[in-house]
Amino acid sequence: MQFIILFTVLVSTYLMIIAKRTPALIRSFRYQSFCLFMATFIIALHEHGLVLYIIAALLFILKVVFIPHLLYRIIKKIKASEDLGLFINPQLSLLWALGFTYLSWVFSARLIGPDNEVKVIMLSVAFFMVLTGVFLMIFRMTAFAQIIGLLVMENGIFLLASMVSGGMPFFVEIAIFFDVFVSVLIMGSFVYKINKFFTHIDVNKLSRLRG
């Protein structure tokens, strides 16, 4: 079961890499978050911990329902182009992503050791997600990609914490959720403002703001 979920996470991350339009990216993010929710929920079922149920529920509400919804609404509101603005085309991005997968696998194999294969795969998927998040932030032009990239990184860290080390302390987890929630709100309003001032949300063109 765990492997299936990890595999779907991987696939959804690949989908993000090849996405050309913002709604597709958000949709893939939704799939990814849902997979994470499933994984957490299954662990909760196994261990019957109230804390884990709460975390799973928060995950579902925040990352599967609220944040994608908010982003969709902003897209509709600002009426900007749905194009993500790619520095690197989908095919080449996919190649990069394959490279990342290999790299993160090698990295986690070295880190954990070859005998514990389950953990190696978990760690490499988590690490791959973090790398992909940064990749999205760098090679996509619009501010939406930056937000989603950050969220993907956060998902990766969540996966890392919950599956490799059995979850972070409850209060830390709550704090992180709150953090993500607030940061998405702030970044959303920033995107809104940037669009208002510059009539685009292309981060690439903000370089003339430097001192």
Partner: protein
Amino acid sequence: MLDTLLKQFFIFDSLSLFFLGVIFIISLPSAIYSLGYLKGECSFRKIILSWTLLVLFVLSMAIIVTISNVFLFLVAWEIMSLVSYFLVVFDTTHEKSIQAGTIYIIMTHIGTAFLVAAFMMMYKYAHSFDFVVIKNACLAMPAPVKDSIFLMLLVGFGTKAGIVPLHIWLPYAHPQAPSHISSIMSGVMIKTAIYGIIRFVICLLGVNSSWWGVLILILAVITCLVGVIYALMERDLKRLLAYSSVENVGIILLGLGLSMLLLSLNMSYLAVFSLMAGLYHLINHAIFKGLLFLGAGSVYKATGTRDIEKLGGLIKRMPQSAVYFLIGSMAISALPPLNGFVSEWLTLQAFFLSAFNSAGGTRLFLGICASLFALTSGLAAACFVKAFGMVFLGLPRSHYAENAKEVPLSMKSGMFFLSLLVVVFGLAAAGIIKLLVKVSAVAMNIDIGSMSFSLNNFTLPAQAGQSIYLSVPMLASVLLVTGLLGFVAYLLFNKGKLVIYNTWDCGYYKLGPRNEYTGTAFSKPFRIAFSFFLLPYRKTQKVRESFYHIKSFAYETRTTFVFKKYVYGPLVVFILRSAKFMRRIQPGSIHLYLAYIFSTLLLLIIFMYKF
């Protein structure tokens, strides 16, 4: 509780106590002096600020010389640097202060960086910041590590002490601070660097190769000569004093370097002797340089200018200050029987004695050092003839000097106290030497129970190999008697021949401020003699109406600051250029910045995979 804390973090051996004494001897009169000096100069709130900074400054220096923990030493060192920076820029109305402060803070932090590096290397071997542990760890340190620590300490402390070519900040920062602060900075602050060298190199690290002492000696000789030559050329009174501080730090380092050399040659008696000479000059310099800075401050307070060419004739307008300045000038020119004479004489004797007791190259080297040191003393005397003569004698060269008034009592009392010390430290040399020998023996951890250092009987030669003899009171009385006899003879045989005439007129009849002898003219022979170093240039500009009639004539002469032009100028240009080059990696694109982070991450992973 307090007792254990004191024992844990402080040391009060005689070396520390000696420096503590130096600090308070100079700070006290300077503080009293500042009462009058700051009155009317700035607002009440600023006076309060100046007192707060002064107290912090003195306190930080006191901590520096007594602390026994490297980490806390650095903290106190940094507090001292920062507080002195604020004192340099205290006079915010002048743009020059800001510039001087900037140069000072950059240089002092370069020095501190070297100190931090050296201390970290010590920590690596000792795993503790405590002096005692470090001292034990240094015994087991490999020689190359010791050498590099020594070099870093030398650069670090040398920056603060003003060793050439790291002296660049000193002539900017010292004159710009208020005068009582200049006197503390020049008199005491640069001495904390000497303390650092003694404490960390001689006490903790331990001298293990003779080239350390040789290096310090070479640097010291260069420092002496460069300092005094620049001082001779200077026309700003306080900058002249600052350059002279550079020179005197060189003299102190001569004693210090000689003792390190002798220590590595296993000549412990002379090592103690020469360090004692260095320490003696240290306290003497603190006293008379403090006095001279206070005197220069009085001149500044009374006239509003520090330009020697605009002063003159002040001896009639402020006679007491003139006497104090004269005493300081005589002391720094090493005239007997004042204190500067004793310490310079002792340093020279240390050189001669060690040259007599060594052979071959060492002997030659020490001889050369001694001769260059003697040259320095002579030039210093010339320099202060210029300083005193041009400021206090002759006719006033501008309205600044004409309207001068004697300074208030608090300023005079500060100077009086230091003048008294100048005389006392000259006349009581025999007793002070005995005290300082103990300090220097503690610093080098040498047992002096079997040695005798008294100068008033002939016991010194037994161990030194040559006989030397000095009795300052006797010298003083001989000078006094000769002077009196000369005066009596003058009164007896010269009556009736006395002609009262215009000052410095020399038969010219109409000498005015504009055609009077000036400081620049006085220093011209030296400018020519040292032209290979000073690289003077002159610019003349004639505007002719016809061949026979010149309408106007402009003449300008300057000396080139070799270190500024050929060392620091190119360095600054290089740094600015590379900074401009580095700016290219900051185009302002968020994507690029993220890419930097990302590629670093990837590289680190690949790096980990490789190794």
